[in-house]
């Protein structure tokens, strides 16, 4: 699905493509549901804590109101394994986990300064060390995601951009499969970010 989207992007490029380019960068936080749910006498949950996030992207117009773009997101934060039950509770530090994702997306207007965005992409897991569930490296998974953007002029030529994102993918690793884990864990992530956006050459 990614290839047709890219072809559509290229086909829609007008002669003065740069003049209609929209680009942005934002900072914020991302929260994630559990990557692995395990049972070892009592439930065990491995998840990434609320983590700082950097987002950057661009888009080009398609038709009168819609746009197509690419959005990259870099998130890095602690990975922890938590358990609690009759046998006590513990919280193990599993190092640092960084994820990089790229979302090929379409966007349009919801109402006034609020725009929707939805797409598909790839997410790559980059653990700080190859151990535990990442003993055989971090996986590359596809995901679907979307969200809302709010924009309003802040400085001459620049907009303030506040965005909420949600994405979903299914997580597993080679190591988990080798250890007998079956299927994959549905992982949901949500982020809230704010930053600046700039449109080159678009009449307002």
């Amino acid at each position: 699905m990614k290839k047709p989207l890219l072809l559509l992007l290229l086909a829609s490029l007008p002669a003065s493509a740069q003049a209609q380019l929209d680009y942005y960068a934002r900072l914020g936080l991302t929260g994630s549901s559990a990557l692995v749910r395990d049972v070892l006498f009592q439930p065990y949950e491995t998840k990434q804590g609320i983590s700082p996030t950097l987002v950057a992207g661009f888009s080009i117009p398609v038709g009168t109101d819609n746009r197509l773009g690419i959005e990259g997101q870099l998130t890095s934060g602690p990975l922890r394994a938590e358990t609690s039950g009759e046998g006590g509770s513990s919280d193990a530090d599993l190092g640092r986990l960084t994820t990089f994702s790229a979302l090929a997306n379409a966007e349009g207007t919801v109402s006034g300064p609020v725009r929707w965005r939805i797409g598909i992409g790839l997410i790559k897991y980059l653990p700080s060390e190859e151990a535990g569930l990442f003993a055989q490296g971090g996986p590359l998974r596809y995901f679907v995601g979307g969200g809302l953007d709010f924009r309003r002029p802040a400085f001459p030529g620049w907009d303030l951009m506040v965005s909420a994102r949600y994405d979903f993918h299914r997580f597993t690793t080679e190591e988990l499969r080798d250890r007998g884990f079956t299927q994959a864990q549905g992982v949901q992530r949500g982020s809230l970010t704010a930053g600046l956006a700039r449109s080159l050459g678009i009449a307002r």
């Binding site: 749910r37 379409a106 151990a131 535990g132 997580f171 884990f181 994959a184 864990q185 549905g186």
Partner: protein, 213 residues
């Protein structure tokens, strides 16, 4: 683009989110690791606050290298960093000592490979269920220590004895396992790893103390 495809996509996202949980393995393929002396059960694992376990190794017969290999190998069997160990320079600062000599008295655990022998000595008070540290591991050659088979033997024996020092206080009954009393495999099997994994989540009945505590 109209809003209808957008709504359909959101519905699809919601449906995707609703399905899918990873299936954890049962970890049922394990062997008994506890000393059971009715009515008492002696089960031990290093508490997280005592990690990493400090191991001092006599610098002879490449024992530090074999010990480090065993530490790295056993560590790789855990998903959640349940166990860790480091080599230390000062034997007075160690939780585990590795020596190349025969033990002075009877030991609880003996592992024997053709070209060498290993012993793990646990100072375990069966009344108070207190394990006094350090745990002592003895690894001795039966033939010329420079022979290739003796070197390979030390590799196996250190895996085996470090397994005891981790808390596997019994031997596997399966000759394929590293914790078999006369192991031949070069590294832990899946059953060895699963046993270690389970014991680190099972309740421990034995606590540790240092001499004089």
């Amino acid at each position: 683009m109209t809003r209808r495809p957008c709504l359909a996509a959101i519905a699809a996202l919601t449906a995707l989110a609703a399905c899918g949980e990873i299936g954890a393995p049962t970890r049922a393929d394990i062997y008994e690791w506890r000393i059971i002396s009715t009515p008492d059960t002696f089960a031990f694992h290093w508490p997280r606050e005592q990690l990493p376990v400090r191991i001092w190794v006599q610098d002879i017969h490449d024992l530090p290298m074999h010990t480090q290999n065993a530490i790295d190998g056993w560590k790789s069997g855990f998903l959640y960093r349940e166990w860790d160990a480091v080599l230390v320079d000062d034997s007075l600062d160690a939780d585990v000592l590795v020596l190349s000599k025969f033990p002075n008295g009877p030991t609880i655990l003996l592992g024997r490979v053709d070209a060498c022998e290993g012993y793990t000595d646990l100072d375990l008070d069966t009344e108070t269920k207190v394990l006094t540290l350090p745990i002592r591991i003895y690894a001795v050659p039966r033939y010329d220590p420079d022979l290739e088979e003796t070197k390979a033997c030390f590799g196996i024996v250190m895996y085996h004895e470090i397994g005891h020092a981790m808390g596997i206080f019994r031997h596997s009954l399966d000759p394929d396992d590293i914790m078999y009393f006369n192991p031949t495999t070069a590294s832990p099997t899946r059953r060895d790893f699963q046993t270690a994994e389970v014991l680190y989540h099972a309740p421990a009945t034995v606590t540790t103390a240092h001499p004089g505590d």
